[in-house]
């Protein structure tokens, strides 16, 4: 009975928080096309992106905590291991439903699996962004839609990779907004994509042209078109090393609609 009361109390809070964050949290991204840093053997080299909305910032600890409280099947002590690796999933929180003092509510949530991230977005009536959508928005800086050929842009991003991951993470929203109004695409966390499984990069970086027809039923693995774009290269390598139940301390997500 008490649990029912508690749930009833929580529901409006979640709905309110969800409602408030939900609408204010998304930014409209206009349709467009761009040249991906990845070389796809099909297509003409231009990737088209339909108009969509993307969350302004990555999902925070507080937001994910509200989700876990509303959907207790996603608590770290209840989620089936096939959906979220035990020992990793939300392992940094003090308890299954409590962040503890070591984690700030506004830090991006990490140690979440693809299934957990997908479930969160679905509960919002949303989904994870595709890699193409993510790369499209991530190409921007504060003033340009495509800043990728600017060495300064690359250096800034590579600077994040040089910082070790055991320093406290910054809360979301501290960085500048890019030209679309989206923040923290770089410098904070890796982010899940809906089609992470399409990142079929061979574990061995040198096998860029190896044509293993039986392995990939068709042409070979994805190759990098822009070999100087280390920022993107490393994201692709990261996504292709993961399985859907994995989580790491530098991996978070945001939703799209």
């Amino acid at each position: 009975m008490r649990r029912l009361l508690l749930t009833l109390l929580l529901v409006p809070t979640v709905a309110q928080a969800g409602g408030g964050v939900r609408d204010a949290g998304y930014v409209r991204i206009p349709a467009g096309e761009y040249k991906s840093a990845l070389r796809y053997e099909d297509g003409d080299g231009r990737t088209k992106v339909a108009a969509f909305s993307l969350m302004k910032r990555p999902v925070t600890n507080a937001e994910f905590l509200a989700f876990v409280r509303a959907y207790p099947e996603w608590r770290r002590d209840r989620a089936p291991s096939v959906f979220a690796e035990p020992g990793h999933y939300l392992s940094h929180w003090r308890s299954p439903v409590d962040l503890g003092p070591a984690n700030l509510p506004l830090q991006p949530v990490t140690q979440v699996s693809w299934f957990a991230a997908t479930a969160y977005c679905e509960a919002q009536g949303a989904r994870l962004p595709t890699w193409a959508e993510w790369e499209y928005v991530a190409a921007a800086d504060e003033t340009r839609r495509d800043a990728r050929s600017d060495p300064a842009w690359r250096e800034r991003i590579l600077g994040w990779y040089s910082k070790p991951a055991n320093v406290a993470m910054s809360p979301v929203g501290k960085g500048p907004s890019n030209v679309y109004g989206v923040q923290d695409m770089h410098g904070l966390v890796w982010e899940w994509a809906e089609d992470y499984a399409a990142m079929m990069v061979s574990g061995d970086n040198r096998e860029q042209k190896a044509d293993d027809r039986l392995k990939f039923c068709g042409a070979g693995a994805i190759a990098m078109d822009d070999r100087e774009n280390y920022a993107v290269l490393m994201r692709v390598a990261m996504l292709s090393s993961l399985e859907a139940d994995d989580s790491t301390s530098s991996l978070g997500f945001r939703c799209a609609r």
Partner: protein, 189 residues
């Protein structure tokens, strides 16, 4: 009172199977709905209780996917009749847009598949993504509608836990995989 209830439950062996939760590592926990080649709807947990060989394919695939069916048939042939009766084969389409129920039905007929044990199934795009994630199948749809995908046969025990997988395809089964199938069948009822 409680013990009477417990005893009553114990006597209903079928109910017991349904009541105990699936193991934490079972892929049958996926809640997505599937439709088989005969139009019947099911969820993966409906298939609990049988050892299964599972894979993902699409019917217009010209290269590997026919090989997948050949591999399944090769496995069938290598088993005894008693073993075969216990084995289920489930092939899930990556391409629900083109692999309609009718198309899957036609394929099952063309390849003369034993529908009492073979299932060709489709689900929605979301279900495809989640199934692939659970089975660690990587795939990408190409501009012309074809797919790049990793291929292999995955062996599940009767509770839906992944036992092993093989990427060696062909009418002659991978000996290590065949041995694993036999072992799993022996352990199941």
């Amino acid at each position: 009172m409680k013990s009477l209830l417990a005893t009553a439950m114990l006597m209903l062996s079928g109910a017991v199977a349904a009541a105990t939760p699936l193991p934490a590592t079972s892929v049958l926990q996926l809640s997505s709905r599937f439709t088989d080649q005969d139009g019947k709807s099911f969820v993966l947990s409906d298939r609990r209780g049988h050892v299964q060989v599972v894979s993902m394919f699409y019917s217009s695939c010209k290269f590997v996917c026919p090989l997948l069916i050949d591999s399944g048939l090769g496995l069938d042939k290598a088993l005894t009749a008693a073993e075969r009766a216990k084995l289920r084969v489930l092939l899930i389409s990556l391409d629900p847009a083109r692999d309609t129920t009718a198309a899957l039905n036609a394929l099952a007929t063309k390849r003369k598949l034993d529908r009492t044990r073979w299932t060709l199934a489709r689900t929605d795009k979301d279900g495809v993504r989640k199934t692939a994630a659970l089975l660690d199948v990587r795939y990408r749809q190409l501009a012309d509608g074809e797919f790049n995908h990793t291929s292999g046969l995955i062996l599940l025990d009767s509770e839906g836990r992944i036992l092993t997988r093989t990427e060696k395809l062909g009418a002659t089964p991978d000996p290590a995989f065949l041995a694993a199938v036999r072992k799993a069948l022996k352990a199941s009822k």
